[in-house]
Structures are given as structure tokens and as C-alpha cells.
Amino acid sequence: MLDAIFGRLTWDSIILVQAVEEPNINTLITASAAAMMPVGGVMIVALLTWMKWWKPLFEWLTSVDHKKIGTMYIIFAVIMLFRGVVEGMLMRANQAVGLNGGFLSSDHFNQLFTTHGTNMIFFVAMPFLFGLINIVVPLQIGARDVAFPRLNQISLGLTAAGGFLFMISLMVGEFSTGGWTGYPSFTGRLVNPGVGPDYYILAIAISGIGSTLTGVNFSVTIYKLRTAGMSFMRMPLFTWTALCTSILLIFAMPPLTACCAMLGLDRFLGFHFFTNDMGGNLMNFINLFWMFGHPEVYILVLPAFGVMSEIASTYSGKRLYGYTSIVAATMCIAVLSFTVWLHHFFTMGQSATVNAAFGVATMLIAIPTGVKIYDWLATLWGGRIRFTAPMIYLCGFFVLFTIGGLSGVILASPTLDYQLHNSQFLVAHFHNVIIPGVLFGILAGIHIWFPKIYGFRLMEGLSRITAFLWAIGFILAFMPLYQTGLMGMTRRTVAYEDPALVPWMIVSGVGSLILGLAFLSILVTILVSVLNRKKLMVPFGDPWDGRTLEWWTPAPTPEWNFAVLPKVECRDAFADAKEKGTAYQPIEKYDDIEMPSNTYYGFIIMIMASGLGFGLVWHMWWLAILSLLGAITTAITYAFLPQKHNVIPAAEVREIDEAWRRAAREGRGITRDDEGNQANQGLACPDNIK
């Protein structure tokens, strides 16, 4: 009876119980991490009750406003980044003293790199970018929302459900030890019968479906909802990269879902897709995984490139150099990214012809990538460069990402990959493109667009310190790994036997401490800025002398984004309007605005998907079946419910919008000299007008 209810779940599955029964450093570390969740949960509940925030909370959770959904993605990602950074630091600390065995048990370390990798890719980088895309894209194309607002909420719900499964594995049971790539047969039923791989499969499959839907949603949004006059070749660069990423998501996520499903069938129902025996073949998993995995790195980095483009032109007060070139290069990268997946397993024994073909294909991607970097440099040429926090990220990106590209070209050579595959050189390489590429882009993006949504800027000085900490921490933590990789140190190793590695590992450990500080510095920046928000307000909405449509609204941006949808006649439409002096002209006619109203749809799907995943992991079949049926019923019910709308009367819109325009016409814009101080109210007087 109990078995039918609890499936495989027993008292011993609960980490806190394990720590009591068998206290040692490993169980204590996991137990304190696990304890943070109930303790944190109770604190949050108390806070919400005390501050009477339950109602606003549910207004957020049921909102379909793209800005709120974006914000929720980003909050989720920041929480997960905390976990990821702590795990990274633990691993680095372990390796700093890891000569012949560190302080962590092998099993604990193995879970750490698996959770760290899975987390950073699926629950940090992707949600961060989806958050930015959600917030920025509708504003940049002059739309009021995304094409499918409820679907957007469901995507968020599925991502959160994946995150829930991932986090709950910290308290109940264990996570996989098979690395973020989860290759069978190591993750197969015979070798790993436990719950770890099941958590892994379900967490990424469920959140993966959410990502696919995000891809669909934003492709359609960008195709269909562009405002009048916004042709493709007038779209801001960030929107272009968001479009490419969305298309990549649609094509790249299905192989992941498929290979997870197939591995699930192997594990749950004894199929033989990837088993050693009965004609199964693990190589098929590896192929499918990387058919997703390689495009995935471009899913991550393209939007970051988009942010870099915006930085280069905005903070040098100048048009983007080579717009057409950059768009073409972005598209090239998106297409080529589907043709190179084999470089992740050059060493699997295929013929030299195959390896050479994929090696050359990989090299080809270096061309458009190089072009983009040159284009951004040329954008700075002839500008008036301001060394604000985003510009610091951009400069860090120029130097560090280029080094990452160099090591990428090295790894793309099959010959060299026979040596460097699976080594610390590889670990250095991908962190080298992910941190200075993706993460710098994300952090800079947050700094830039934060005031747009919340109405106040982040403290400039603190943001600069954060940027420097990330850059220095990164250099110290990861550059030494190039050397240890060349010296023959493998990845995923809990300990090593070669004393020559020790000094490098210690430097790297120090670097990871600085990265920890860098993370704290993000929180401090946000906290201090919130406390000082009165002084940082930018009600006019254009704190950086922006060039694209999103800056053409007050800050915080009203729910409906644009009182009247703008018409666009060129690229950088807002910069053009400011130059002509027409930016804040009065508007004659306002219409009623219809906005989709709140719904519990996504929230319910999130609960159901979590129940489905948890039920499957623990073989609680009743829970899995009920949740699945519940999800299906919810979907059908909502399909038949008429969608409700809120109507905002034209008079109300007029009042708010006219006040803003009038104040802007009467106000005195600031020059860029005052960008970082209290005078910056978000009304710009561009350098080229004076």
C-alpha cells in the first residue's frame, strides 16, 4: 500500500535524514543547502504575509504582461545563478586542495559538476535571455505584447517546473552524476538505477518544451507584430538576434526532447535505444544531444551579441557600423550552427573524411563571428565613447571573447581535439565564451534595460565594480585551466596526482572567490539602487540617449507600452525623431487599448508539470497520471474559455501620455556629461544636436 503511494520514496531519500544518520562533510554541505529551501520558504511566506504581499504576488504570477513575465524569468535566473556560482566555487575549492583527493567525496563532486552544468545552461543562461527577450523585444518592435501572451506564461511555468524538479533533487534523493551531457549507458538503467538520471531527464525535458514554445512565440511575435514601417532591415539588432535565437529554439530543442524521451523509455520501460545490448547504441544519444547542444550555444550567445551591438552604438553615440553585415553574419551563424555538432565527439572513431568535413564547417563559423567583432570595433570608430558599465562589459568581451574564439579554433581541429577533448582546456574554452560572451551580455543588458521597466537606474559606480570583478575573477579562475589542460588534466576529475598542477589550481580557486564576490556585487548593486531609487528616477524613459523604440516610452513603461503605436521610417527611429525634434510631439487621436487579462493557466500547468515530473521520478504513478490528466484537462478547458480582455479607455491613456509628452517638451534634456548623476531624468539632449 505504502509502495503504491510513495513509490520509491523512503525516509532515507531525504537528504536531511541522511545527514543525521551519517554526518560528514559531504552530507553536511548538501544538508545545509537542502535546509536553505524550507527555511527560505518559511521566511518568504512570513514576509509575504507580514507585508500583505500575497495579492500582489498572485497578480504577478497570473500576469501575461511580457515585462512581468520577463522579470520573473530574470528573478528565477538570479536565484539559480546563486546556486551555480556556489557550486562552481565548491568545485574550485576542492580542486585547489585536490592533490590526491580533496575534501569532497567523489560522488558529491560528480553531482556538483552535473548540477552546475545543467543549472547554468538550462536554468541560468536560458531564463536570463528569455527574460531579456521578453522585456525588450515587444518594446523594440513597437508592440503591446507578444503574439501569444498565455503561451508565454505557460513557457515560464514549464521552465519553473523544470527548475522545481532540479531544486527538489537537492532535498529528496539525488541528482544525476553523468554530467550536463548525460551520456548513456552511464545514465542507463543498469549502471545508474537510482533517481538521479530521472531527475535530469525530466527537468530538462520539461523546461525544454517551455523553451520550444518560447521559440515559437517570439518568432511569430517578430514576424507578425512589428509596428508600421518596421521592415526586417529596420529592426534593432537585439531583435534580430532574438529572432535567430527563436528560430534556433524551434529546430534545436526537439532533438533534446526526443533523446530525453528515448532515454526515459529505456529507463522506465526497458527499451533499447541507447543500451549496450540488444542493438541499442549510445552513439545515437550523443548525436541527438549535440544536434541540440551545438545550436544551443548559439541560442545563448546570439542575444548576447545583440546586446553588444546595442552597447556599441548607444554608448558611442553613433549608428551601428555595418548593419547589413552584422545581420548577414548573424543569419550565417544561425544556419551554420546546425552543421557542426560532430565537433563534440571527433574522437568517437569516425573516418578522417567526416572529421575533416565537420572541422572545416566549424571553422567557417569563425568567419561571421570575426566579422561581427570587427563591426563593433568599427562602430566605436568615429564615436564619442563613454566608459559606462555596459561599455566595460563590451571591452571585456572584445578581449576575452576573442581569446575564447582562438581556443575554439584550436579545438575545432580534429587533430588537436584528440589531445584536448575532455580536458581542462575545454573547460577553460567554454567558460571563456560563456562568461565574457553570454554572461557579460546578460549583465550589461540588465543594466541597460533595468530603468526602462522599473523607472530607476542601477548605481553606475557599483555596476562598474561588478563588471570589473567578473572580468578579473574570470581571468584568474579560467585562464590557468588552459595551461592545466595542455598539461593533460582531464575535466570532471575530483582529484589529481600531478603536483605540478597545484599552483594553477590555487590561482583558479582564488579566481572563483572573486567570481563569488562578483555575484554578491550584483545583489548589492540592485539593493543599494532600490534604496536610493528616488535619486535614480528616470521618468522620461530615455536615460542613455537611446536610439530604438523601447526608449520612446516613459519609465516605468505602462502596461500597454505605447499609447499609440509608433510609425517607423528608418533604422534607429527614436534617434532620428530626437534629431528632428519631433520625438515628443502631441498626438491627436487616442484609442481604447485592449490588453489580455490575467489568467491562472500557466500557473496550473506549472503545478501539473511539476507533479508529473516528481511522480515519474519516484514511481508514484498515481501522481504522474493525475497530473498529466490534469494538465490535459486544463489545456482543453482553457481552449474553450473565451479569452478575457481589459479595456483601458482612451481618456485614461490620453491623460498619462499627454502629461509625459508635455513634460518632455518643456523639460531640458541633459547631455551625456550628466548621464551618471541625479540630473539624468531620462530626457536626453543628444551630442549631435547641440
Binding site: 568517437m348 571553422m363 564615436g383 575532455n422
Partner: protein, 310 residues
């Protein structure tokens, strides 16, 4: 008899190459790096200069807010990377074919069969009738061909100082050809994560003189231990080769496990097991429930083995 494996120079990785392939790889690494620098250096040099020249606080260059394209520059921006990539691409293709691990590096290479287990390697010398665990001895100057498989999850055998790595997969074979051009000692390893003992899965590699090689083989031939299906099943238990000494009842012996080849078809039988029966948790090495007594090897199959050649 003196031990042929003492007093050898130690090479850590391909930075001190001991094999022809590793030497070529090191050279290739330098060439690729230099070629790529052609595209990288302009960024590193021009960035600080541009930042300085166009800094808003004290600019020295003209402000051109509308400047957005220039054909010469455009050609350079696309041209330079294209040329660099073309050069590297040609070089890469040539080297990929030249250093193909399937290409034999001399006539009649020495055949060694390799079985990867958790967390040890068995090296079988069929011609000598010898098997060594976690020790690979090769004669300097003679081409060697490893044929690899595993009897657990996927592994990757790497000998950095001599050749690099290749995956070894259950039910399949892969090949790794190399030629040691210097005498010396180095360490090989598994670079594909395989669980708790993964980091200990290292083995000694010796490249020795012909006489030294013969002496080493003779020493192994006089071993009282034989590699048969039974001893194999014991070796297949999870653990390092040191840890396998106890169940083999040779706890007190120093040095790597050496055996005569009791069953010359053992490698083929390991491959055959995945073609015949469905594996169970008891019969699959690497599973937590593996039981050497319940893991019989089938007879070798007459059908050709499934290789990776295409």
C-alpha cells in the same frame, strides 16, 4: 634481469612529445595558433587605440555619428577571416588525414587489444599470449595498433605524450595507431567520466628498446595468473587494478597485474556478449549489482565484429 622500465625519461603530455603523432599535434597547435592570431591581433591592438582616440572626455578623432559603412573596410573584415580560415582549413584537412588514428604507421604494427573496465584497462598482446593490467609497454620505433572496446560504459583512452585519445565503446571496437619515437615513460588515462573511481583510472606507458620489450613480455609470460573468463569476471568488478588484487588473491604482489593469455578469444567474447543476451544488472559490469559469478561470457561469435570503419 634488470627491469627495462627504470631510468626512463618521463613525459607528462604532448608538450613533451614521445610519439610521432603527438609531435605533429604540437606543431599543428603552434601553426593554428599563429594563423588565428592574424585575425585576433588586430582586435587586441586596435581596441585600446580606438577607445583612447574616441573617448568622449577628450576625443581626438572627428565625430561621425552617421558613418555606417565603407566598402574597403567591409572587404577587409570579411576577407581577412576568410583567408585565415581557408589556410587553417586546408591545414586542418591535411593533418586530419595524416593523423587519422585508423591509419597504420608502419608495416605490420604490433597488435594490442584493449578492454576498458571500471576503473582499469586490460592490455592484451595476442601475439605474445600476454595480458597486462594498467601497463602498456611498446617497443620504440615500432608501429602499434590498439583495438579498443569496453565492457561497461563509454570510456576514452588517452596517451597524451604519444598520440591523444579515442573513445572505447561497449559492443563496438575503435582503433588507435601510434609510433613511439623515443624511449620514455608516461601516463595514460581514461578521459571520459565514468563514475567514482574515474580519476584513478590511469596507466603506465613505457616505450622501451626491443630487448627491453622482449624482456618485459618474457617476465609476464612466466606469470602464474591466466586471463580466462573467470579471472576476467573478477577484473570486471568496479575498482582500480590495485583493488582487484585482493579478489585475485595476489594482494602482496608489487607492480601491475600481469597474466598469460588463458583464453586467446577473450576480447571477441567480450564483444559478443552484447550481441547475444539481454544484459541484467547482475551480468553488466559497471552496474552496482554486478556479480562476477552471474556474468558468463558467451563463446566468440564467428560473425565479423562491428567496427567503426565506414
Amino acid at each position: 634481469m634488470i627491469d627495462p622500465t627504470t631510468n626512463l625519461a618521463i613525459a607528462e603530455s604532448f608538450l613533451q612529445p614521445m610519439g610521432s603523432v603527438a609531435a605533429d599535434q604540437l606543431r599543428h597547435l603552434k601553426i593554428v595558433t599563429l594563423l588565428t592570431l592574424i585575425a585576433v591581433v588586430p582586435v587586441m591592438v586596435s581596441m585600446p587605440w580606438i577607445l583612447w582616440r574616441y573617448r568622449r572626455s577628450k576625443p581626438s578623432g572627428e565625430y561621425r555619428p552617421k558613418w555606417e559603412s565603407n566598402w574597403t573596410l567591409e572587404c577587409l573584415m570579411w576577407g581577412v577571416p576568410i583567408v585565415v580560415v581557408a589556410l587553417i582549413g586546408v591545414n586542418l584537412t591535411i593533418m586530419t588525414f595524416r593523423l587519422d588514428p585508423y591509419k597504420e604507421l608502419g608495416k605490420d604494427p604490433l597488435q594490442v587489444q584493449v578492454i576498458g573496465l571500471d576503473w582499469k584497462w586490460i592490455f592484451i598482446y595476442p601475439d605474445e599470449g600476454v595480458a597486462l593490467v594498467d601497463e602498456l609497454v611498446v617497443p620504440e620505433g615500432r608501429a602499434v595498433e590498439l583495438t579498443l572496446t569496453t565492457d561497461t560504459v563509454m570510456q576514452s583512452l588517452q596517451i597524451s605524450a604519444i598520440v591523444g585519445q579515442i573513445y572505447a565503446m561497449p559492443a563496438m571496437t575503435t582503433k588507435l595507431n601510434f609510433l613511439a619515437v623515443k624511449q620514455g615513460e608516461s601516463e595514460g588515462m581514461n578521459s571520459q567520466f565514468t563514475g567514482n573511481g574515474f580519476w584513478k583510472q590511469k596507466f603506465q606507458v613505457y616505450s622501451v628498446s626491443k630487448e627491453g620489450y622482449a624482456a618485459r613480455m618474457n617476465k609476464a609470460k612466466s606469470s602464474d595468473l591466466a586471463l580466462t573468463a573467470d579471472t576476467y569476471a573478477i577484473l570486471a568488478m568496479q575498482g582500480t587494478s590495485e583493488e582487484a588484487k585482493k579478489p585475485l588473491a595476489i594482494e602482496n604482489r608489487q607492480g601491475p597485474i600481469e597474466m598469460v593469455l588463458g583464453d586467446p578469444k577473450i576480447f571477441q567474447r567480450v564483444l559478443a556478449r552484447y550481441m547475444v543476451d539481454e544484459m541484467t544488472p547482475e551480468s553488466q559490469p559497471g552496474s552496482p549489482f554486478y556479480d562476477p559469478k552471474k556474468s558468463p561470457l558467451p563463446p566468440a561469435s564467428d560473425k565479423p565484429m562491428m567496427g567503426m570503419e565506414m
